[in-house]
């Protein structure tokens, strides 16, 4: 078996009209997907929903200069996604410090959404 990463790209308008019902629907669709994967004899090794892109921060690690922290997602198109980590950290400050130590030129730091059973739809 080989391993593949699925990167999910969707319109963020979903967030704008989010209510308990929509949230439930999304959870059910992902539940169905998980069953389909299993039925196919494959496995989900990990996966998370992400908070919307406006909650992202980007760390640019620049040669010969201090790392630069900016608001928002990584938007340049010359660079390509080359890997990912999921980090459990104390807070955003610690996450950003660790991103500065991460061997990559640009790290988008996006909060993982709480999708546990008792979670509320994101604000």
């Amino acid at each position: 078996m080989a391993q593949y990463m699925f990167l999910l790209y969707d319109s963020e308008e979903w967030f704008d009209n989010l209510n308990a019902e929509e949230w439930q629907k999304a959870m059910e669709l992902h539940g169905a997907f998980a069953q389909a994967v299993e039925a196919a004899g494959a496995k989900i090794l990990g996966g998370e929903a992400l908070e919307r892109s406006t909650t992202a921060s980007t760390v640019k690690n620049r040669e010969g200069a201090e790392p630069l922290v900016t608001d928002g997602p990584f938007i340049e198109t010359k660079e390509a996604l080359g890997g990912f980590y999921i980090i459990e950290a104390r807070d955003l400050d610690q996450a950003l410090e660790l991103a500065k130590a991460c061997p990559s030129g640009n790290i988008e730091v996006r909060p993982v959404m709480d999708t546990s059973a008792d979670a509320q739809p994101p604000a």
């Binding site: 992202a56 900016t70 400050d93 008792d118």
Partner: protein, 456 residues
Amino acid sequence: MVGRPGASTPDASAHPPAPPAAPRAVADPTGYPPAAARSAVEVAREVERAHRESWSTVLASVVRLTRDLDLAEDCTQDAFVQALRTWPDGIPSNPGGWLTTVARRLALDRLRRETNLWRKLPLLIEAPGDVEQPTDPLRLVFTCCHPALAREAQVALTLRLICGLTTREVAAGLLISEPTAAARITRAKKKIAAAGIPYRIPADEELPARLDAVLTVVHLVYTAGHVAAGQVLTRSDLTGRAVELAKLLVRLMPKEPEAEALLGLLLMTEARGDARLSEDGELVLLADQDRSKWDGKLLAEGVSRATAALNGGGLGRFALQAAVAGLHVTAPSWEQTDWTQVVRMYDAMLISWPTPIVALNRAAAHSLVPGANLEAALAELDALSNEPALKSYAYLPATRADVLARLGRVQEAAEAYDAAITLTANETERRFLTRRRSSLAEHSARPAQQSPIPDR
């Protein structure tokens, strides 16, 4: 990770909920005995004063309790409303303490009613402690000016949360529409909550960089008020807020020379405020200002703050800017300003902050040194003409125009004035530049004009 709060916290047990509608019940348990009854006008004035002096302290204390900015803001606002209602019976001896106690109690009531709010846990904090911690407002300042927020969001959030401005006032101050201001503030708050921006004072090793963002925001608030876009030259509500913010920072971080330098810089600029406009509302340049109109008390405090910052080992950006301002205000006249020293200060700034704007100021000061080589100064300015950061900056063509005029190159000077007139967003400045342009022929021999900063 901080544990999610259970049913009882030290605060919860210490302050059983009081019926919010009963003024007595609110006034009494705060422990601040009311004084004699006051008139409505007097109460309104006291509430307004408390709003100005204590808003950030009250809010910051409630944020530490609720970890939810929106909830904390609502409860702080409600505490001020209760003050309007109950203070006619007597104004508490410690209004800020009274407001904090009431706001925190309102927050605890709300949290009990809406238990799911606990789950949001947007801000990570230590266990709830004393009602007021002296460092509370500082945490709030650093949260508002967190580097993971866009600068414009930092400014809007600081005006809203630290200064207590309404969304409408924020919009008016920054000359943006009210929906834009609201969206900026809402988005920033959501990010703070969702991304886990902490509510804490940065550690010593991160402090210089984080402090710089805070000071920059305060400086931007001042600048937005000092040369506002539109008809009026200054917006004293904004400049006043910025000075109050700078004072708050000095109080909160008495050992930071850069905070003291920023306050000194703002005070020295404030001191010249009245002299910047002529009786008919026209802009008067630093070169032409009546120095006797400057506010001596503000100047003295500004100079002494700047001196203290410089003596405190501060050679930071604001210390150097304050030093330049100090050289201006202590000179007996424009002509007698120590331009050589001003150039030196800009050179020192360029080492740490090699930005095009600092380079422009350096070039402008250079052109004013007695016997300066104007051709060299012009070359310095021309070298900046391709800087993207200066593309829409009116002071570059305005400074070029001035140097060209003094070189007797009237036609080129007129063209440079035209460029500056097109770029400026301020009516008073535009009229000034237009007057300057039309008097080119007669004044072309004048020895020293104006550098764009510090009086712009």
